[in-house]
């Protein structure tokens, strides 16, 4: 007969059981977040849905073999690439891209849209950051739920991190974690990590499709000086300046311009411009959710951009963008992106008629604010199931 377990043993068993239960609950949440399906109902303008591996084979079967939505007009022209989800935790960019994929029509030239440039990063949230796993955009027919995502590729897809990340090919030393940051790994390399391969594949798309302009959509904390602005490679300085002037005068919101620093490597606005013929621009919209002084990090903050602590930081002169009790709602942030993209398209097309890209069907800033982002998301339930694709 075996002896009765001691009190100490019993305590260990209970603690282990509790730990296992917590681990199972957390694991289930992580699993559901990682595998949350995100449907896309391609709009009338989508003429093909390619994969990123079509441009760089070794990406096939990986988490980042993402969809590339192609909108080709009847009339030949130039080519634009709208890059969303380079940092999936900045949702206004992905949502603006969704509006393009589900609504835009192109009459001249070609428009490429990638909704989740770093899909791996969209399947995880900030470790230890207590981020919500997802968020829901209210629509007239219910709602559409999206993965929250993170700034960095999931460690499940790329691990371990080095002690120091040495950027390729500049050999600039960057923070170790940024080896999983797509916007620090451009132009990428074919034999590199998953994130580097992704950057390389995007450059291959740009080169093979003769893309003229790349627009990378982001959001920034209000304590970061590069905010509410277009960061422009020198090739796109005039385009960005005129866009800024037009939007600030007639677009309903102020938009600045910053030059892409030559000494900061790995960023899309620098490396895409340096390593291809394309003009590279990066757009930053304000997102208080990312501010270090924020309060509760929940879905409401993500979507309303309202936070009393960030407002208080503003009163102390610590912010580079204004904020009040109205916050920075998601519709305002999405509308800034759609309007800016449309303005860039129009100025580019006017100045480069032979490489024009003419698009329609996409709401501008005031329209997105008036109707809400959800008004431009299609009802999956009534869509042709054969046409639905998943991110």
């Amino acid at each position: 007969m075996s002896p009765m377990p001691t009190a100490m043993t019993m305590r260990k068993i209970v603690i282990a059981a509790l730990g296992a239960a917590l681990g199972a609950a957390a694991g289930l949440s992580f699993y559901q977040s990682r595998h949350l399906p995100e449907p896309v109902v391609p709009g009338p303008g989508v003429t093909a849905v390619k994969k990123l591996s079509d441009y760089f084979g070794p990406l096939e079967g990986t988490a980042n073999d993402v969809n590339v939505y192609v909108l080709e007009g009847a009339e030949p022209g130039g080519a634009f690439l709208v890059l969303c989800g380079t940092h999936p935790e900045e949702p206004a960019g992905r949502l603006a891209g969704w509006i393009f994929a589900e609504n835009a029509s192109v009459s001249k030239g070609r428009l490429f849209v990638i909704l989740t440039a770093n899909r791996s990063a969209s399947t995880v949230t900030r470790l230890g950051g207590a981020y919500p796993p997802d968020y829901t955009i209210v629509t007239p027919w219910g709602g559409r739920t999206f993965r929250m995502g993170d700034r960095w590729s999931s460690p499940l897809d790329q691990w371990p991190d080095p002690e120091v990340y040495v950027h390729y090919p500049s050999r600039q030393e960057l923070a170790y974690i940024d080896i999983r940051n797509l916007n620090r790994t451009f132009p990428g390399r074919p034999g590199g990590t998953l994130t580097e391969k992704t950057g390389h594949a995007i450059l291959e798309l740009i080169r093979k499709e003769r893309v003229d302009v790349v627009i990378d959509l982001h959001e920034a904390e209000l304590q970061y000086p590069v905010i509410s602005t277009i960061v422009a490679h020198e090739k796109g300085a005039d385009l960005a300046t005129l866009t800024s002037m037009m939007l600030s005068s007639e677009g309903g919101f102020a938009m600045g311009v910053e030059n892409s620093p030559r000494a900061l490597r790995g960023l899309s606005h620098r490396e895409i411009g340096d390593n291809s013929d394309a003009v590279s621009l990066l757009l930053e919209a304000p997102q208080p959710f990312l501010d270090a002084t924020r309060g509760r990090t929940d879905r409401a903050l993500l979507l309303t951009g309202r936070d009393e602590f960030v407002v208080r930081a503003g009163k102390q002169g610590l912010l580079f963008e204004k904020i009040d009790d109205a916050g920075w709602p998601i519709d305002v942030r999405v509308g800034r992106h759609t309007s800016t993209i449309l303005q860039i398209l129009e100025i580019w097309s006017e100045d480069n008629p032979g490489r024009a890209v003419v698009a329609g069907g996409v709401p501008r800033y005031d329209e997105v604010i008036k109707s809400g982002t959800g008004a431009y998301l299609k009802d999956v339930k009534t869509a042709d199931p054969a046409k639905i694709v998943y991110e």
Partner: protein, 204 residues
């Protein structure tokens, strides 16, 4: 927004037709004029000079942009037989811009002072411009960063004309400088108003 307002070319045409109504001259000197060719430069390496450059290009006004222009730039152009007639120095500093150029605000102030002295000696019109609003003022910079204001101090009081985006003068700083030095102040309400403002200034 109408389609006309989204098109730079159409908007330009509308602005030019109505330019008397859209260019406020706070300096009250309606005879303020300058001549081309014009050299556009910076004091602080902000992206601002590109705004002026884009407007000059749209207006097809003769000029060059060199963010690091020196007195030698003026002399070289004069030696070619096509001297500059005006210099536009865009005020406002960018720490990133200066860092990328490997220079400090002290270097920029010194360069600007020598450039202005040479311009005055050669009879050029010096136009101090501030085009990026409060974002390019100390109020919009990192706490303790006064480089924007140092740039303004170096250029604005020595200018013959001040060309200012009104939002950046919301504290009246340029109005005070204008009145103190009797310097004509051209304020524009909207960014696109720089088009008719420069059109009128250069008398095209």
């Amino acid at each position: 927004m109408t389609r006309a307002h989204r098109s730079p070319a159409l908007l330009l045409a509308v602005l030019l037709l109505t330019m008397g109504a859209v260019v406020p001259y706070a300096g009250q000197d309606k005879a303020v004029k300058a001549e081309t060719p014009v050299l556009v430069t910076s004091c602080g390496q902000s992206p601002g000079p590109n705004t002026i450059k884009v407007v000059l290009q749209r207006l097809k006004l003769a000029g060059d942009t060199d963010p690091l222009a020196t007195a030698e730039t003026l002399k070289a152009k004069a030696a070619e037989g096509t001297p500059y007639r005006s210099v536009i120095i865009v005020m406002g500093a960018s720490l990133k811009g200066m860092g990328a150029a490997g220079i400090s605000i002290e270097d920029e102030i010194k360069r600007s002072e020598i450039l202005i002295a040479e311009a005055k000696k050669a009879g050029l019109t010096v136009i101090g411009a501030h085009v990026e609003g409060m974002k390019r003022r100390a109020q919009g910079a990192t706490a303790g960063d006064t480089t924007d204001e140092q740039s303004i101090d170096a250029v604005a009081p020595r200018s013959d004309i001040l060309l200012i985006y009104k939002e950046g003068n919301s504290d009246g700083r340029f109005t005070v400088i204008s009145k103190a030095g009797n310097i004509p102040l051209i304020e524009v309400e909207k960014m696109m108003d720089f088009v008719p403002a420069l059109e009128k200034l250069f008398g095209k």
